[in-house]
């Protein structure tokens, strides 16, 4: 192999340096560094993998070390009449029963003082419509201008009847909300520790620590987070943590008139959600993202993400 002149020159220079340094060549040193980095990376990767496995078994919450886990078990937060070690909350959404009345959205806004317009929400409903002969769904939600016009106001939510006079192969409503993932992307990216995975399931927001950078809004693969301009903090569903810790259902579940939303404790095999998951074929949204959601859907389609 013919060496290029410049390469020759470098090599010569290199050899000279090597002689000056005496023992370790730069090439060897760099090689050593590279191997070291690879080994360290492998260790960190393995550690992370172990952490993930532990989180999946329901022991450690997301990004929680052993000492913090022990603390969570032995010294749980001071919530009257409630111990977060006794519960593992989950939600089910039976899309075959959803009538798209959007009462869940309205109740949620009332309960959690979310901004009242159609574009701000912790939970919402989407309509999937397959027109005759079509393989792709037309999707709209309460934010669609036609639906807002039909409702008569930005602060009232209702689906219009635009598909009444066209042929439809298949159509259904899907309620969406935060999936309270086991591996929440939003928690991973929060720079201030303002959002976190609680031990009993919900991903919560500490509004006093939220600086409103909206990085979490970008990170969520489900679009479940929004920004509350009036508070200047991120906004998301927390399964009405203030209600479930008092033995109540989340507001949306409480007002769902058809029982399309099912909520309960997975530690209790007879809770509504345990029965729902046991008795139905359920799936989660975007399983390929690896977020391990805790909202289980029945009757969704491949188009529902």
């Amino acid at each position: 192999m013919n060496k290029l002149p410049s390469e020759e020159k470098v090599t010569t220079h290199h050899t000279k340096l090597e002689e000056e340094a005496g023992t370790l060549s730069r090439r060897d040193f760099l090689g050593f560094l590279g191997k070291g980095a690879a080994c360290a990376g492998a260790f960190i990767g393995a550690g992370a993998a172990i952490g993930a496995v532990e989180a999946e078994t329901g022991k450690h919450a997301f990004q929680q070390n052993d000492a913090q886990y022990e603390e969570a078990v032995n010294n749980p937060p001071q919530i009257p009449g409630y111990n977060w070690n006794d519960h593992q909350w989950a939600m089910g959404v039976d899309t075959t029963r959803c009538i798209g009345c959007l009462r869940c959205m309205e109740a949620c806004k009332m309960e959690n003082s979310v901004q009242m317009d159609a574009n701000h929400h912790r939970t919402w409903v989407e309509r999937y419509v397959y027109l005759e002969g079509s393989n792709t769904a037309l999707v709209d939600s309460q934010t669609d201008p036609k639906n807002i016009e039909n409702a008569g106001s930005e602060t009232k939510f209702r689906f219009d009847d635009r598909y009444r006079h066209v042929k439809v192969d298949k159509a259904f409503f899907v309620a969406k909300l935060c999936n309270q993932c086991e591996h929440p992307s939003c928690v991973q990216v929060c720079p201030t520790g303002a959002t976190f995975k609680s031990k009993d399931g919900p991903v919560l927001i500490d509004t006093t620590y939220c600086i409103g950078c909206q990085y979490c809004v970008q990170a969520c693969p489900y679009g479940a987070r929004s920004f509350n301009e009036s508070r200047g903090t991120a906004e998301k569903c927390n399964w009405c943590y203030h209600r479930i810790t008092k033995g109540l259902n989340p507001a949306c579940v409480e007002v769902c008139p058809t029982g399309s939303r099912i909520f309960g404790d997975r530690n209790d095999p007879e809770s509504p959600v345990s029965l729902f998951i046991r008795n139905n074929h359920v799936q989660v949204l975007k399983p390929e993202m690896g977020n391990a959601p805790n909202v289980f859907y029945k009757g969704t389609d491949k188009e529902v993400v």
């Binding site: 937060p77 409630y82 009538i99 009462r103 009332m110 009847d161 976190f196 943590y241 507001a251 058809t258």
Partner: protein
């Protein structure tokens, strides 16, 4: 050691000390307690006071409305109250519709009164100062009420078939849903239609000012003026004019009032009604309602077709003594305020249906029904009801 190195080390030490003490003082003790967050935040989030209170809490004050709801179909989410083994606690909870007031409804803490006092006070506030009460968005206006019903019952392609859905344009037209349905128990009770006004707080029917029944004997003298067209006993001499014999008195009275005020338009009848006092209208209505009617008959073949159409068009929902699902005689209306059709002149029924169709006579429900009928449908229906016995 060189001086500049010492200075550098001192600087580094100072920065480190400042940084560590800042961390010590500024990071709250509970940070890192359970993870990379403030441990106290969990209890803070949980300490918020729930706003939606659940139907049971409504019961403590709104006993009557709660009882009506409990007995009705809105109480159940499904026929057996269960879905695949999952028992649904409630069907349409109070706060599904009353979301507005639930959030800032006067709580026990806010109103330290006995239950009876509290109900009186709230009722009082509703009546005297409707703008003052918290949660005044309680859907009291008919248009809101209508939207509220349609939120769940509008006919949409994506709604599952098990949900009862209404295509409004073929159902009640512009009539408020509450004219026929009690929202707390929406299955229609045909015995008390049209629904009397309801107290929004208790759900109790408000006392209707007792209407004096007309005096049939006194009405006979007034009826003399009607006889020229409607006959002495209320059997009209021209088939295009309605028989009055055996008609519901309330319906006749309302019609006369309509002609007098101009909400119903007919030159002859407006002229006739203009000269009548309220008592006259009551009396003459009572007189004709008591006289004996008779089937006028209609084309038999058309009547057969009309019978089938009547079942399909849902006439029986109102013009049947037993109501929608009742078994009473056909053509006899469930409400005193709606006309009997049995034995009516076929020609007049055709005129009436056409006037609803072209909006020369205004009635939201009837217009929406008539708009869906063809000319031959109207012919057949008229023949059918003319041939039904009115006894």
């Amino acid at each position: 050691m060189p001086k500049h190195i010492v200075r550098l080390l001192i600087l580094i030490a100072v920065v480190a000390i400042v940084a560590f003490s800042a961390k010590k003082f500024l990071v709250p003790g509970s940070f890192y307690q359970y993870g990379h967050y403030r441990g106290n935040a969990v209890a803070e989030v949980a300490s918020k006071v729930p706003k939606l209170q659940g139907s049971a809490s409504c019961q403590s004050c709104h006993k009557e409305a709660y009882a009506v709801w409990t007995g009705g179909i809105h109480r159940k989410a499904t026929k057996d109250g269960a879905i695949q083994g999952v028992v649904i606690k409630n069907g349409v909870n109070c706060e599904v519709c009353h979301t507005g007031p639930a959030g800032n409804h006067p709580s026990k803490e806010a109103m330290p009164l006995s239950i009876e006092d509290r109900v009186t006070t709230i009722t009082h506030k509703h009546i005297d100062h409707p703008a003052d009460i918290p949660g005044r968005n309680l859907m009291l206006s008919p248009s809101d009420m209508r939207n509220l019903c349609l939120n769940c019952h509008d006919k949409l392609e994506a709604r599952p078939a098990m949900q009862r859905q209404i295509a409004v344009e073929n159902h009640g037209g512009a009539e408020p849903c509450t004219s026929c349905h009690n929202p707390h128990s929406p299955r229609i009770n045909f015995a008390d239609l049209p629904r009397p006004p309801v107290d929004p707080i208790t759900g109790k029917a408000l006392p209707v000012i007792a209407v004096k029944a007309g005096n049939a004997a006194a009405g006979k003298s007034v009826a003399a003026a009607c006889a020229a067209c409607h006959g002495n006993t209320g059997m009209s001499i021209n088939p295009a004019w309605p028989n009055l014999a055996g008609q519901h008195a309330d319906y006749l009275y309302n019609s006369l009032k309509g002609f007098k005020s101009g909400t119903r338009k007919n030159d002859t009848m407006s002229g006739m009604a203009a000269g009548l006092s309220d008592a006259d209208m009551r009396n003459v209505s009572a007189y004709f309602s008591k006289s004996s009617c008779g089937a006028t008959g209609g084309d038999k073949a058309k009547a057969e077709l009309g019978k089938a159409k009547a079942a399909e068009a849902g006439c029986a929902a109102c013009h049947n003594a037993g109501g929608l699902r009742g078994t009473g005689p056909a053509g006899i209306s469930a409400s005193q305020a709606w006309p009997n059709l049995a034995g009516q002149n076929a020609a007049y029924l055709t005129v009436a249906l056409n006037s609803f169709k072209d909006d020369s006579r205004n009635h939201a429900v009837m217009s929406s029904v008539a708009n869906a009928l063809s000319d031959s449908d109207i012919d057949n229906l008229s023949a059918y009801f003319a041939s039904v016995s009115c006894k």
